[in-house]
Symmetry: none
Subunit: 175 residues, 4 copies
């Protein structure tokens, strides 16, 4: 990934997240990135190729996130880490996540396996902790965390983060 390619990816990510993929012309990406329009196509083949590159680029970081969690052995630690997830998104990554969530509503994105992974991980943890219906609990936790992420990504300066997190940790007796 060269310097020029990163410039393009960052510009596109920002614009895609802000205005939507369809509403962002490649000409605007080129201008924002400070490169010629042709270069986008030389490097990424097409606008869709660029989108895919962005998704992969961000996907790597998501994978890293998960590697950490899978390493934990204690079910309580696993749950704690999973709950931490949406609260630990750095603001520099908001654009990426906004894009992911936007795409969710239109085209299947690669996030599905992530959802599956998370469901199975937390389901197992709930089971280990003796919950009666671990799959249902896992489902509900997923729903809550997805909701949290949505609310945080869409609300400017969302300030209930910490309280929500503590309330969740308390609910699952992880504090």
């Amino acid at each position: 990934m060269t310097e020029r390619q990163l410039q393009i990816i960052h510009a596109a990510l920002q614009l895609f997240a802000e205005d939507g993929v369809d509403a962002t012309p490649t000409s605007k990406i080129a201008k924002t990135a400070g490169v010629s329009e042709g270069l986008i196509f030389r490097h990424f083949g097409s606008k869709d190729g660029l989108l895919k590159a962005i998704l992969e680029y961000g996907g790597e970081r998501v994978a890293a996130f998960y590697a950490k969690i899978a390493n934990e052995s204690q079910p309580k630690d696993i749950l704690r880490q999973i709950i931490e997830l949406p609260f630990s998104i750095d603001e520099s990554e908001y654009d990426f996540w906004r894009l992911i969530y936007t795409l969710k509503w239109q085209r299947r994105t690669h996030l599905e396996n992530i959802t599956e992974q998370m469901l199975s991980l937390s389901s197992k943890a709930f089971n280990d902790l003796g919950y009666e219906a671990p799959e249902l609990e896992a489902e509900l936790l997923l729903i809550v965390l997805d909701g949290v992420a949505t609310r945080a990504l869409l609300t400017e300066s969302y300030d209930m983060k910490t309280q929500v997190k503590n309330r969740l940790l308390k609910q699952y007796k992880l504090d």
Copy 2:
């Protein structure tokens, strides 16, 4: 609202929800609705005018939803009704809600005041029921319900609905 206008609205709603507003050409709407392309503009002025008409058309039903809840006097009934909300969406209305949720990520839509209304209603109910942090509880409930709706709208044949609902009713001691 004439027959023809409804044809157009239904066709557009379906396509907008499926492919996104930007990715849906008016020509395709016309073909799907079985009318001439010009008619769209005669009736709705512009593509954006059509979108607004759809939002209003659906918005009326949302308002009706709320009218019911606001009438309840018992806090427990209010909460019960609010929780019922995402579970009672008829499949015939999925397109509308998918559109609403999609738009949320791109342009501010009129759903914000709905969010506010819901927060204040449930916050008051939680307060009446003696919850320690009623606003936090309301916030969390909103998040959960938003998450439920999202999951139901995006997952084909989502079959955990009932279990999730019961689990929630139980958590808030409403069963």
Copy 3:
């Protein structure tokens, strides 16, 4: 010519003169005239048919103008009348003449024979008065009068009319 037809003709004339024929939609004509759009086509067949009707409607008055002049027997009287022409246009007829002059630049209009008539009439008069080059004089007079009309039609509240007329009458020793 029914009442309704006149309404349409007057509305169209005004709009055609103001914005140009091409830039005036039939819908605007209908609205201005206070009739339905369909009626225009029932009465005039097409937009072009309407234009032709306007031209004929106005053309009759032009023909009447000429009939008077042709009746004069004295060359001086003929010239005087011809010179009077552009100065005697009533403001209520400005729209019509503006339209005529506009059309001149795009499509041949029926005014050509008028020009020819005028040339031959004044040419004969100049000849009778012993001018050396009567055709040249006729040509020049035509040019001047056309210029006067243009200037008057395009200049709001053109106030040199009388002076210009007197100057012309004097030049041709008709005062």
Copy 4:
């Protein structure tokens, strides 16, 4: 101004003059110029931008015309030059002038200040020559020259040019 831009400008000028701006589709301009339709918009932004470019392009030559006259010191020379004006339009510039005169009847064009300049220049010249009513004379001269231009531009192979010019020079005792 690149080669391609000139191709477009010439094609557009010809078509605008012939059929009128409104009646000339950009597709026809593109075809006539032998370029793609998109190129028109890349270079001129819009159809109106193209029209403005044409007007500026031609306007420079008009300005040059005037610079010459303003340099003359003798009133007789000034008048002679002004009278020369409409007779010295090269046939290659007919399209441009036809366009200018057409636009006069619909939208205010930049020719107004030219009219004003010409009026003040000739008015001063007439005054210097001791004419009784110099402003009236200037007005009349403008009218005549405008009429000459009109007649020449609208009449194919107008062959009285020289005679008219000589007649005018004689009338103002400039021969």
